[in-house]
Amino acid sequence: MGDLLGLSSTMLYVAFVLYIIATAFFGATIKDKGKGNKKSLSGKIGITLTLIGFLAQIVYFITRWIASGHAPVSNMFEFMTFFGMAMVLAFIVLYFIYRLSIIGLFALPVAIIVIAYASMFPREISPLVPSLQSHWLYIHVTTVALGEGLLAISFVTGLAYLIKKIDQTVRSKRTTWLEIVLYSLILFVGFSVISVTFSIMNYEATFEYPVDNKTLTSTYTLPPIAGPTDGELLTSDAMTPLFEAPAWMHGADAGKKLNTIIWSFITGSIIYLLLRLILRKRLGAALQPLLKRSKLDLLDEITYRSVAIGFPVFTLGGLIFAAIWAQIAWDRFWGWDPKEVWALVTWFFYAAFLHLRLSRGWHGEKSAWLAVGGFAIIMFNLIAVNLILAGLHSYA
């Protein structure tokens, strides 16, 4: 059984590396001048590697399922990894509809960032508490991830649209917002980089702190800049926190989470600044030449199309299957739990997107911004709601 788990992790790693190489090949398609997308060799290699990587990830998924005895979508690591996988699948689907390599060049990096991010969470196989012991859980979670993966493609093409469309010769509100979007993606990279760095160093600092008359301990894997409220450092050679998490950040591990966020911002900002120093221009401006040969119109259509394909899947998984599971597990199919409400918010958002598309003025750049906004909501639901507004869906 240990071997199976070993195989599983290796396969995930293989998939991860293959996606990176595939991205490079999709990047190379930009240089194939004149040949048209279909005949480009690098594009073919790119999609082949993506498919092999996807297969490897399926092997990861199945072996981990066998090893743990339940579908691996039950904690933060497993779910985010699966979300990355769903994004790759969504990309594959849309690639075969439109045969556009440029989607790969943008979609795969986002999936890679998501998988890297996922891997920073505890990777042990965790047992299922009774409320999670349901087939409907698997059905619900996998469908949601698939729907969100499809919707994420609209973010990718929307982002590509903006990078191409926005005039980089002058600084404007639009260039600033675009930089903010790119910077946010880099924050995730920052989180992964800093987590890997300190986990190689085996860094640990343990605190004891009170929550509601109980004393809890929290083990930091990053040096404590923000300590727990009224916490006491137990590890002798660790750095003492510069400040404590404010008291209103209530609950277990609040200080640790705040600390992780601070570190992600610090590392992400450093990476961003380094990139700016090296490139000597805005990231948006640096990426713009990649899209020289893409057509805005087609990018806009793919943005809309992936929402059109993703919306029914998301509705089915995020609302209907979720409701069925909630009915069986908690005796009510809808309970206004934060996670449920944010699924509803996501759904309303994309419904609004689809209705806005009915009028002419909302095609093109406005749609692209909306697609970015939708993805922000999805990420907020996946990350912030789990970590901050913890509800019944107690992942991680």
Partner: protein, 546 residues
Amino acid sequence: MKKIKCECGHVNPEGTVLCEACGKPIEGNQHIDGNDKKKLLNMRYDGSARRSQTYNKSIIDKTWNFFSSVKVGVWLIVITLIASAVGTIFPQQQYIPSDAISRDPAIFYEDRYGILGKIYYQLGFHDLFGSWWYMLLVAMIGVSLVICSIDRFVPLYKALKIQKAKRHETFLNRQRLFSETEQVSPEDIEKVKNRLKKQRYNVRDEDGYILAEKGRFSRWGPYVNHIGLIIILLAALLRFTPILFMDEYVWVREGEQIVIPGTHGEYYIENKKFTLETYDADDEKFKAAIEKQGGMIPSNFQTDAIIYKDNNADVPGAEPDLEKIIESDIRMNQPLKFDGYTLYQAGYQENEFTSMSFIIHETDDADEQKLDEFSISLTEPKAEYELENGFRVKVEEYFPDYVFQDGEPASQTNYPRNPAFVLLIYPPESDTPEVSFIGIGKNIDATGENKYKVSIQDFSMHNVSGLTVKRDYTLPFFIFGAAIFMIGVIQGMYWQHRRIWVNPKGDGLLVAAHTNKNWFGVKKDIEKAIEGTNINMVVDQQELEE
């Protein structure tokens, strides 16, 4: 009503933008769909006459127009979206944690979240989703859905039914995809026709004017999904009726048999045993995770229950005549169903006290020699106990769940989780009692002069199961609504309505196409159809516009 006759002979209803038959723009109405400012025609509802765009005089017109506007609909959705997000900033009332200082919202929000919490509470956001204005928003979305669907469905349906294959030239050349070819042979036209048929287009040839159409049914998708949404909203209304929806909660002790609330005394439940199982901390697979989470991860909550039906339930005053109908376990994720009712494992309380036994001995007796003994059932304590050796014990006060609060003894709940008593002990043949206060780990002699002392000898405990009792006849409506909704979105999203017009003009040909989504797909269809002919590929006029 002012009808409009088009030059093709078709009579259109007032407010028509594009002739229903030939598509010729109708003069004077072009501002309605914004065609007057653009080269391309707005094809959204095929230029059909919608009530909302035609009348705007009476209050009814104005209300109708308000709710049928997609702009208003989007605003309603956006406002509801923002309101929903606000409802997650702090936990809603029902999610106030049980370990909070107080579950009273008036205290909780301010205590935990300070001034912001207080404002949140005072604005009523602690029960946002139950507030009248949130329900009003949802209701308005519902009204808007109905009105806007009716406003568009009927005219669109008629326009698509009446449409002719022969189209006016201005209609064709103002489509997004259009081409004109000077000279085309009849064979080429025949080729195109056959190829379109092969691509599963429904091809109509009216005197050489060709309309190839596919996926029209997908146009009804939005209307179908809106109907699904309406059914769901109506189902939510049905929940307010007690006949269709009942929701109760019951605590049952191990060994206890009680009537199930909400069943009008018809059903009884007996709790044979409650089990809480946890994962084995030495399990190789889960060891690491269990250790990290500090051990004790529950694996199962289960009540072994027997359900009885009282055959005398409708005879007033009669003794219950219980007949066992089901014996089964109830677990989380595996509720028990019977006769329309469902029981869910929803909570538990471990280690409540069932009974306690006491002895009485002399205060100074180091050996605590028993003079008399008694035992109190904590679920049904008697007021007074006459003991064998002549002592009498009166239960002066009973705190099932003792706490010392605000300088006074009190009971937190009515459940015997931490029982304590004030006992009056009457020695044999005496009418002057001694007062003892006794509980777990507490034995207080208030006066310090008691001659006799009571000590706890033994106790027994039980677990309690918390079960939700539900009867919900509204569920099928929700399921039905959700199914209709899914059919509608899939119908509208995974198919597209594509139309290709191939109309002769002199010796040449005009080709134009329209689709409600997936332009890439139609272009490919046309490419395939005209391959090898000398017909010009359509040009995307929208791209040129940019």
